[in-house]
Amino acid sequence: MRGEGVQVDFAETTATSTGAKASRKRRSANRMPVWMLFPTLFLLLLIIVVPFLIAVYTSLIDLNQYTLIHWVRAPFVGLGNFIDALKQGSALGASALRSVWVSVSFSLVTTAIITPVGVMAALMVNKPFRGRKWIRALFLLPYVLPVFVIALVWRLLFLNGTGLIDQVLSWLHIANKSTYWLIGPHTFWAMVIADAWGSWPFIYLMVLAALQGISTDQYESAYMDGAGPVRSFFSITVPNIRSILGLAVLLSTLNHFNNFTLPFIMFGTPPSPQADVLPLNVYITSFQTFNFGLGAAMSIITLIIMMIPAIFYIRMLKIGEGATR
């Protein structure tokens, strides 16, 4: 919005402005300060690309805390770690295969819950009303709190017998006072609820930005043509928010798949197998049982699964078609 303002002012004051094509040409004509790119390139290579390759290599060797000092000479086991990952997992946790299942269902279920909530919240505050500013600030609150704070609160809320949730549920005669949310089969749902509480504003924010971009002219002309609110919702609102909603859903799926902090703090280590998401399983395998080879193999399995939504995401961004977005 501010950017546009600058652009307009400027177009009025410069007579030499000659359109995008000419300016692109002129850009390449003057010399590029390559040195400004070097610090970023160097750092990205050093801390991302090289470690990534090391992780791939580690997944193929038998590396633990004893062989770490002779890291380069650790025995090569080929795909052995991958076979182990799918078979048994670490001594403490679930097998990687089980964790894949937990992680996939966790990110899909959470996204399925927060998407309608986020869309509805955005629709509710899209049109001005008194006190809208405060409601918008309130809606941001769960998103803005650090994840570790959210995890701590929900751990307290889910405490067996004495937590608020158990007390309310037993008062309503819905569930037993000893439901055990933080251990056993209910952990999955405890994790879903806590994560949904903290992450729905992401969908809300993205959709709200799309809604604010729709000009009121569209609604007015639809109204003139006799379209009711339902009709104009499906013919104007839905097509206008569809692409950004798709992007938001994909990003949210990716983010939930990567969520480590929430289950780590809510359940401690090791968690019940029902809540043993892949990042947590990799963490325990690598940093608590020090089986680095197995951990690396499991993280590569994670990466491969994440590539499915990631490829869709990258394609949606349409890099290189003019702008970077």
Binding site: R2, E4, V6, Q7, T14, S17, S23, R27, N30, P33, M36, L37, T40, L43, L44, I47, V50, P51, F52, A55, L63, L68, I69, W71, A121, M124, K127, F129, I135, A137, F139, L140, L141, P142, V144, F148, L152, V153, L156, L157, T162, L164, W197, F202, L251, S252, N255, N258, F260, T261, G268, P279, S286, F287, T302, L303, Y313, I319, T324, R325
Partner: protein
């Protein structure tokens, strides 16, 4: 435009329900932070008296001051480094056409989708290997954790600054060049002032991402460099292992570490949300 009465009512009901869902856990946190530790354990919903002492004892008992300080130092250093380093790359990427530009943009996005735990593993192996081979202490140093935080902060800051650059017209820079400005004059007199809001957002975002991290910090910090997230987690699991958790103090400490972040976010809301919807943010 006229809105029908039913729609207004539905909207009101929806806002109230959603508001309650947000408020209740938050209010619970506030009340519990003012409840004596023993009463939280008993499941009291209305404390017998307001235990303001939780907000005093937490400083000595949890060691909150040190953790908060570590978090501020580490997050600020990460935010500053990521923003300054990314600025150069973003300038070149958005102002020049060259071979490999597209490849660079694609890899920036790909880097942001790589799971963080996958980055931590090899970094940890290399760090421990260097420690053992050369006898240098790296785990528990501020700079070690800051460098590893750049694995997520740097690609993110690059992407954010590139999208800010796209919104700034190039004409002003061209006019300055016609007037004979050198590269450095151009950067400091023309580009930097225009990009300042974008750089503030990049700094704040990197700061917030670092503040919220528990994964890297739980492996790479020591007792003296622990960040707030790991500190609270350690306090929780220590209490869980024996003696019981001091929930009252823990909630007080959670609020104390969360509220400054909420305030920063709400103050800079307008700028931050613009960066968020530019499409590259992790939740």
């Amino acid at each position: 435009m006229t809105q029908s009465k039913t729609l207004v009512r539905i909207r009101f009901a929806g806002i109230v329900i959603l508001g309650l869902i947000i408020i209740i856990p938050f209010l619970y946190m506030v009340i519990m932070s003012l409840t004596p530790d023993s009463e939280v354990g008993d499941g009291t919903l209305f404390p017998s008296h307001w235990a303001w002492g939780n907000y005093v004892t937490m400083w000595s008992n949890i060691g909150l001051g040190q953790y908060l300080m570590n978090s501020v130092i580490i997050s600020a250093a990460t935010g500053f480094l990521a923003t300054v380093v990314a600025f150069g790359a973003a300038y070149v990427i958005s102002r020049f056409q060259f071979r490999g530009r597209k490849v660079f943009l694609y890899s920036l996005i790909t880097m942001q989708t790589v799971p963080q735990v996958m980055m931590l593993l090899p970094l940890f192996i290399v760090i421990v290997f260097i420690q053992q081979a050369f006898g240098i202490r790296l785990v528990g140093q501020y700079y070690t954790i800051v460098i590893t935080y750049l694995t997520f902060a740097l690609p993110f800051a690059c992407w954010l600054l590139i999208s800010y650059f796209e919104n700034i017209p190039i004409d002003l820079e061209e006019a300055a060049q016609v007037d004979g400005a050198t590269r450095l004059q151009l950067l400091f007199r023309v580009v930097l002032p225009l990009m300042l809001p974008g750089m503030v957002v990049a700094f704040v975002f990197s700061f917030l991402l670092s503040w919220g991290d528990v994964l890297f910090a739980s492996v790479l910090t020591s007792n003296t460099t622990r960040t707030i997230g790991v500190g609270l987690q350690a306090f929780l699991s220590a209490g869980d292992a024996g003696g019981g958790v001091y929930w009252g103090q823990l909630m007080a400490a959670s609020l104390t570490s969360g509220i400054p972040i909420v305030v920063i976010f709400l103050l800079l809301q307008r700028y931050i949300l613009g960066g968020l919807t530019s499409g590259a943010v992790k939740s």
